[in-house]
């Protein structure tokens, strides 16, 4: 699927734009961007994006497929929805960012070590298994997502916070043994599986 040899001639052709329109959540909106830059100016983590949303949209139109999909930019989205409510063209920018991140993941070309990428995957795995999120397990996996040594350091650094949460009964150490789940785990997992199948069939067409 990956087409890395985009020639200069094809650079400003519609190919990648069409791919995004077909496969990325809310991707059909990308062409409607008018390059005003309000989204970029409204983003709380704006300065940390390699390519702010407006630029990503232009890159998509310019056919910069790999640069877009391998970018860490959309993983900087905090889902604050500032860009959405301010966009004069009413582009669902937050959703497009999520959609691009997901599409890159689906293709296996997302930036593997991006911390939010890792956290987001852990979150999904956690919820997809049990139907509900187990904050303690999520937290522990998060601390160790960069390896055991880093994890111990992070965990020690966060220990104060953890203790505060435990003391106020907002974190339960016993959850490590099991914790919250939906009762109909089987039905829940079957539903997710079906949804994933249906989506795969649509995207891969």
């Amino acid at each position: 699927m990956s087409d890395t040899n985009t020639s200069m001639v094809e650079k400003y052709r519609n190919n990648f734009l069409k791919e995004v329109e077909a496969n990325v959540e809310e991707g059909e909106w990308v062409k409607m961007c008018m390059q005003c830059g309000v989204c970029s100016g409204s983003c709380p983590l704006g300065p940390h994006w390699d390519h702010p949303p407006q630029e990503l949209f232009m890159m998509i139109r310019a056919g910069k497929r790999d640069e877009v999909l391998e970018s860490t930019s959309m993983w900087m989205c905090t889902s604050c929805y500032n860009c959405i409510v301010r966009c004069p063209r009413e582009l669902p920018i937050t959703h497009i960012m999520h959609g691009l991140a997901h599409y890159a993941t689906r293709l296996g070309i997302e930036p593997k070590n991006q911390p939010t990428r890792k956290f987001a995957q852990l979150f999904w795995d956690n919820l997809a298994r049990n139907g509900r999120v187990n904050e303690l397990k999520l937290g522990i996996s998060l601390y160790f997502m960069n390896g055991i040594v880093e994890g111990i350091k992070t965990a020690l650094g966060m220990a104060g916070i953890g203790m505060g949460m435990v003391k106020t009964k907002r974190m339960n150490p016993m959850e490590i043994l099991g914790g919250h789940t939906v009762k109909d785990k089987k039905g829940f997992q079957a539903m997710i599986k079906k949804a994933q199948e249906l989506e795969a069939a649509r995207v891969d067409n």
Binding site: C80, E110, T116
Partner: protein
Amino acid sequence: MATKEYSFYPGCSSQEGASSSNYLKSVNTMCEVLDIKLNTIPDWNCCSASIGYCGGGELPRLALSARNIALSEQHNAGQDIVATCAACWLATKETQERLEMDGDLMAETNQALSEAGLTLKNENKIRHMVEVLIEDLGYDELGKHVTKPLEGIKIAGYVGCQTNRPFGIEGESFENPKYLDKFIETMGAEPVEKYDKKVSCCGGALAFSEPEKSQALIKDIIEAAYDGGADMIVTPCPVCQMNVEVYQDKINAKYGTKFSIPVTYYSTLMSVAYGKSGKEAGLDGQIIPAKKLEDIAGK
């Protein structure tokens, strides 16, 4: 006024031993006073918040909220679904909207739901608790139950992102919503005028994955509250509450600040103003104790 009944979606963070269990506590106390009955959706699941998008594609994520709505239709027929968590409300409402707009997605969602023995009609309203308070009860009604006005407390009303955008509360602006300030006033406290970080982002889920960047945002939110002379911060969102409260020591260590400002929920304020005990108001869930509220609750 007759008892009002709603189908209730509490969400993961409100569970026992989870980060906003104290929110649920105060909500229950508040609802008892206001004669609101919350019928929890049986066997509800996670909404995937705004961070499930890496592993979860559009349809699987929609299916999550669709399952909750379908369960509500089955067990709490005809009732509006109410959420207290901003992300839960947002994800559920977004699902409802998108399935309403897109017949194909709706059909596929129902196909997935049938694997769990459910079908979705998608007919009930999805609402935030704040909407219920404003629209179904009104500020006058909320004020009637105040027995211990929160006099002498100045509070920064931190609305945050997802209770405010993209849906927000009817009649409020995205840039300067007023309802939280009105709650504060109704409870007898003084809101911080022109709190300029009122709708700024705390980093949300990225507080975990991008701690430094998020803490820089949180620092500004707290600083602005202090600048406005606030004794405490109040918010309608569990993620906002946690992010703004629990990282204060880390921010102090990094920036040399001396932050120690309590952050509570609107429902905490109301429970105390309605004359309930600190425990009933969930004040024991404060990592940074809300001393002024405790004093009033203890009177």
